[in-house]
């Protein structure tokens, strides 16, 4: 049975409770994420969806007073096991943030920053990797002649695609995206959405979004969160046409949230 699951599941949470100090942000979350699919996490502000996302690559470790109960199994290994190095986890599970956050370095150095510090030293390897990653992020044509220019000179949408390319350069298995288009204009947003559609052929993508149309457009499965609980987790089409639970329907039809 376990082996069977392996083909489709890549990461899953088991009875996760999460606390910020005394505040319980997530209650008993058990959720499987499928390989090479896009899973969207939706829900009103403060529902815990971003917390869950950041828990999947241990970015919540950085917060003072944060505490996790339960397990996150990544290819069968609990990433919260004391033996596990969170740095290693983050190499395999990349992340793209809400606001584009390129380093104040050149475009080339942004892309190669991760690989360089984690072992790739050869210049031609790095160049090939940069080209490949930028092509994957559909940014290559726009920046191939200005790789030495500061990443800060790019537009917001280009910066976000650069951040995606930077994450891809680490060759992760999973890409976590925390509202990656909420700071972008509609055209840039459309480009990122097309990109996500392309990337899911290679990567598993888990995306938090405030925008329900976006979830409906790009995801295969959707989880709806409310006050720290996973209310409903289903195929996206089902969630948006015929949800099992009343609360989900109320939310997606705009009755609250």
């Amino acid at each position: 049975m376990e082996n069977n699951h392996f083909d489709t599941e890549i990461i899953k949470t088991k009875n996760i409770n999460f606390y910020y100090g005394a505040f319980k942000a997530l209650t008993d979350i058990t959720m499987n994420f499928e390989k090479r699919k896009v899973t969207a996490l939706i829900g009103p502000s403060g529902c815990g969806k971003s917390t869950l996302l950041r828990l999947l690559n241990r970015m919540n470790d950085l917060i003072d007073g944060a505490r996790v109960e339960g397990e996150v199994l990544f290819e069968g290994m609990n990433i919260y096991d004391p033996e596990v190095d969170p740095v290693e986890v983050r190499r395999r599970i990349g992340m793209v943030f809400q606001k584009p956050n390129p380093f104040p370095k050149s475009i080339f150095n942004n892309i190669t920053y991760g690989p360089r510090l984690t072992g790739t030293a050869n210049k031609s390897d790095l160049e090939a990797l940069a080209e490949q990653s930028l092509k994957q992020a559909v940014l290559w044509d726009e920046v191939k002649d200005i790789l030495g220019r500061s990443a800060m000179t790019l537009s917001g949408g280009q910066q976000q695609r650069l951040c995606i390319a930077r994450a891809l350069a680490m060759k992760p298995d999973i890409l976590l995206m925390d509202e990656p288009t909420s700071a972008l204009d509609p055209i840039s947003t459309a480009k990122i959405e097309e990109l996500i559609d392309e990337l899911k052929k290679t990567y598993t993508i888990i995306i938090v979004t405030h925008n329900m149309q976006q979830a409906a457009r790009i995801s295969d499965k959707t989880g709806f969160f409310y006050i720290g609980k996973l209310i409903e987790y289903n195929a996206t089409e089902k969630i948006f046409t015929n949800p099992d639970i009343k609360q989900t329907e109320d939310y997606i039809t705009g009755r609250f949230g």
Binding site: N57, M59, L62, D64, V87, E88, V89, R90, R91, R92, G94, M95, F97, K99, N101, P102, F103, P104, Y113, G114, L117, T118, S150, M152, C163, R166, A167, M170
Partner: protein, 293 residues
């Protein structure tokens, strides 16, 4: 509404406002005049003795003639030594406080300690240096003892400036690096420190300015009344600008005779300190222009 049509209460308020603005302006003018006055006075009195020879030759005739070259050199050695000691120590301490330590009681206690250290009178540092470096560690009165003492003196400045600079680096940079699977230490080394460098440097250079001007910390630990030769090693005593002024103005029998030299020395010291501050300002504005986030 014109002045004539104003009610009595309004006139009073109007008057009060002008009184207040006037007071603020006056204090600003007084401050500027005081500063300008001091600088002008030093410049007028000091400029007469300034010459290439004054800057490059040692004192002669019981220090009533000749130049102040050994004192300039000594002050440079001492401040350079102080910054060499204090910069790495201060930056590492600041990294610990902002990046590693769990914010809580211990960190608060350390910060209070650092701030207290900044408020300690400089003569206390001098006595500490005498007791610890000169006597206990047997460094003697030397460049080494003086530089270490000055280093401790400017440590709080450097820690404070470095902490502010580190805190100023956006959290998103740290997150971006950590999310790529780069370790915390490498993140600090490759991302946080380079971006905090302008602030750290500015603070440190201001610290250097302070170290160059202090007399009390070096009078028991490093400074000599007169040295017949230039220092050969860090275990030698040196002359230093602030101490030279102090000596000429208070000790000896030629106080009036050496007055021009005193002013000349003060002018050189002020120029040195202001020059160092100017470098800090230039570095900061240059790096600010380059920085974009």
């Amino acid at each position: 509404m014109t002045r004539q049509t104003m009610s009595g209460a309004m006139k009073r308020r109007y008057f009060k406002q002008h009184l207040f603005f006037g007071a603020v302006l006056l204090s600003a003018i007084i401050l500027t005049l005081a500063l300008g006055g001091i600088l002008f006075y030093i410049l007028v009195n000091g400029i007469q003795v300034i010459s290439w020879e004054f800057l490059t030759s040692p004192p002669t005739d019981s220090m009533t003639k000749g130049g102040i070259m050994p004192a300039i050199l000594g002050t440079l050695y001492l401040t350079l030594g102080a910054i060499t000691v204090a910069l790495p120590l201060g930056v590492v301490a600041a990294i610990y406080l902002t990046e590693y330590a769990k914010q809580g009681r211990t960190v608060r206690a350390i910060r209070v300690g650092v701030n207290c250290l900044a408020g300690v009178p400089s003569v206390v540092f001098g006595l500490f240096g005498l007791g610890f470096f000169v006597v206990f560690l047997k460094f003697g009165s030397s460049i080494l003892s003086g530089a270490l003492t000055l280093g401790i003196l400017i440590l709080p400045t450097i820690i404070g400036a470095s902490e502010e600079a580190l805190k100023g680096v956006p959290q998103t940079f740290r997150e971006a690096s950590l999310a790529l699977g780069v370790s915390k230490w490498l993140t600090i080394w490759k991302i946080v420190l380079p971006n905090a460098l302008p602030g750290i440097l500015t603070g440190s250079i201001l610290g250097i300015g302070r170290a160059a001007g202090e007399t009390a910390p070096i009078m028991f630990t490093a400074a000599a009344f007169f040295t017949p030769r230039l220092p050969q090693s860090v275990f030698d005593e040196v002359m230093a600008l602030p101490y030279h002024v102090y000596v000429l103005a208070t000790a000896g029998t030629h106080i009036e005779q050496t007055r021009p030299i005193q002013y000349g020395t003060v002018l050189v010291l002020v120029a040195l300190v202001l020059g160092i501050d100017l470098i800090a300002i230039i570095i900061r504005s240059y790096m600010r222009r380059k920085k974009r986030w």
